[in-house]
């Protein structure tokens, strides 16, 4: 007889639980009240009035947000993440197949991962003339190794029992990867995507600060030059919202694809 099971529907409901947690609401409200109070008390406390703008000013800044900058940043993030993923996956598969390739590449990958983002941005500025290529390069060189290492670890983590079962049915190399390895590493790939989305959003902003004439990073740079904390706050809110939206999209796909999980 089957085990007592929670069933798919119940599992899906728990994953897509959209009730807004009371604790989050309270902490956000407390923060907002404190901010607003500080904005009014700033002159009394000796803080320059522009440093802590009121919500009215922030709302005005939000109203002037240019969607084209959001679209440009989003396109850069998604494009670079896709390129990093394809590159990371292909290299991970090659390294999994060839032990000697792995021995040569693994130390180099670890070395790349240890290089600070700022250094990559400086290298990109010094090496490449095109702004888009610079930003793409920095994103791929930062996110690609994360995809690669996560995928490789996940491939190595596929249970030996499943691998020998699969081999006993004599699949071709392609069938082995498509029917066993890829589905087995999907959960790790989603985790990697969630980590990399957050990383890419932060890195793209820094990369756009240097040399770009469009994008959220550029707008943040302009706001800093104008001493407009309200604009910085507004663009930061947009970045946070973008991050949440992208993560939510990934979770949605993940829930759909991994519905087989307990």
């Amino acid at each position: 007889m089957p085990h007592e099971s929670t069933g798919h529907a119940e599992h899906r409901d728990s994953v897509l639980d959209l009730t807004f947690p009371r604790h989050t609401l309270v902490s956000l409200a407390v923060f907002a009240v404190c901010w607003e109070l500080l904005s009014y008390l700033a002159p009394v406390l000796g803080i320059p009035p522009f440093a802590i703008p009121s919500f009215v000013k922030i709302a005005k800044s939000l109203a002037t947000i240019t969607p084209v900058d959001i679209v440009v940043t989003l396109a850069r993030v998604i494009g670079a993440l896709l390129a990093s993923f394809v590159l990371g996956l292909a290299l991970a598969m090659a390294m999994y197949r060839s032990e000697s390739l792995e021995k040569y590449l693994h130390p180099m990958i670890r070395l790349l991962m240890a290089v600070p983002v700022v250094s990559w941005i400086l290298f990109a500025v010094l090496w490449f003339p095109g702004v888009e290529f610079r930003i793409g390069f920095v994103l791929v060189v930062v996110c690609g190794p994360v995809f690669l290492i996560d995928t490789l670890d996940a491939m190595r983590g596929v249970p030996r029992e499943l691998r020998s079962m699969m081999r006993s049915f004599r699949p071709t190399t392609l069938q082995y990867f498509i029917k066993l390895m890829l589905p087995a590493i999907v959960p790790s790939i989603f985790t990697s995507w969630k980590v990399n989305i957050s990383l890419a959003i932060r890195v793209v902003t820094i990369a756009e600060l240097v040399g770009a004439v469009t994008g959220i990073g550029h707008q943040l740079s302009v706001a800093q030059e104008l001493f407009s904390v309200a604009d910085v706050f507004a663009w930061t809110l947009v970045l946070v919202a973008l991050l949440f939206l992208l993560e939510a999209a990934v979770v949605r796909v993940e829930t759909r694809l991994l519905r087989w999980r307990v």
Partner: protein
């Protein structure tokens, strides 16, 4: 229709080199045995006697260090692809893919041999029905009990209608009632398919209940006894069990088995 080919092991020796110490370990010293087409052979032996190594040689995952292992005129290792869809295995654990439903697990080997999808589904459904899982085709492995998962694994093995069926302690981890029921089903279906079946087990009751022949392995797969179960009337199965037990404990053939042979 031609039947399954015979399995012949001639002077098979298998030596492993330990990665940590670099020392050689002889898993199979020298093995000569033949398994006739459609025979159901149970191989028994103590832990570490080389049963599982022989099993890996039969699947073709390993090659003998010396000697030859042939199925018909082909080697399961050197002619690995030739046996696609001809050899199927049931393992100790079900080894189902957790992301596939029972139906999709059962049709996995059919996908690998490239059958049209409709035929894959039909054949997988037929075997799941034969194993009493007709109402659970869309269930994922975690929604099934251990016995049901092992049934899916058996359906997966039978779905390709293989020439050679291999089972490695396939019923050992189940409760006795479920194991006995599955053993009977397995045997019935193997006969129905006309497959040669090789079962590796450490349970003597299982070996006696299922095998046409019982091959007793000693240390390093030394062939201690080769018993044709039909020569032992059912009333003397208790004695047979004791004789095999004594053979395993003494690592030498028990006189009662030699007399019978």
């Amino acid at each position: 229709m031609s039947g399954p080919p015979p399995i012949e092991a001639r002077g098979v020796r298998k030596v492993f080199r330990q990665a940590t110490t670099g020392q050689s370990v002889v898993a199979i010293e020298r093995l000569d045995m033949t398994i006739a087409p459609r025979e159901v052979v149970a191989i028994v032996g103590q832990t570490g006697c080389g049963k599982s190594t022989f099993f890996d040689l039969l699947i073709g995952l390993e090659a003998p260090t010396e000697g030859s292992l042939q199925i018909g005129d082909k080697s399961p290792f050197a002619d690995f692809d030739h046996f696609r869809g001809r050899i199927a295995t049931v393992f100790q654990q079900d080894r189902l893919l957790p992301w596939r439903s029972a139906l999709d697990n059962a049709r996995l080997p059919l996908e690998l041999i490239g059958l049209p999808e409709a035929e894959q589904r039909e054949r997988a459904l037929t075997w799941l029905n034969k194993l009493g899982l007709g109402n659970f085709t869309n269930a994922y492995p975690h929604e099934l009990s251990g016995g049901m998962r092992q049934r899916v694994a058996i359906a997966r093995a039978f779905a390709v209608q293989p020439d050679i069926l291999l089972a490695d302690e396939a019923f050992g981890h189940l409760d006795e009632v479920t194991a006995a029921e599955l053993r009977d089903t397995f045997l019935k279906l193997a006969r129905e398919c006309g497959s040669t079946a090789v079962l590796i087990t450490h349970q003597l009751e299982e070996a006696i209940g299922v095998g046409d022949r019982i091959v007793v392995f000693g240390k390093s797969a030394k062939l201690l006894a080769d018993i044709h179960v039909a020569q032992w009337p059912k009333a003397r199965h208790g004695e047979l069990r004791e004789a095999i037990q004594a053979t395993l404990q003494g690592n030498a053939p028990d006189p009662r088995l030699q007399t019978k042979a």
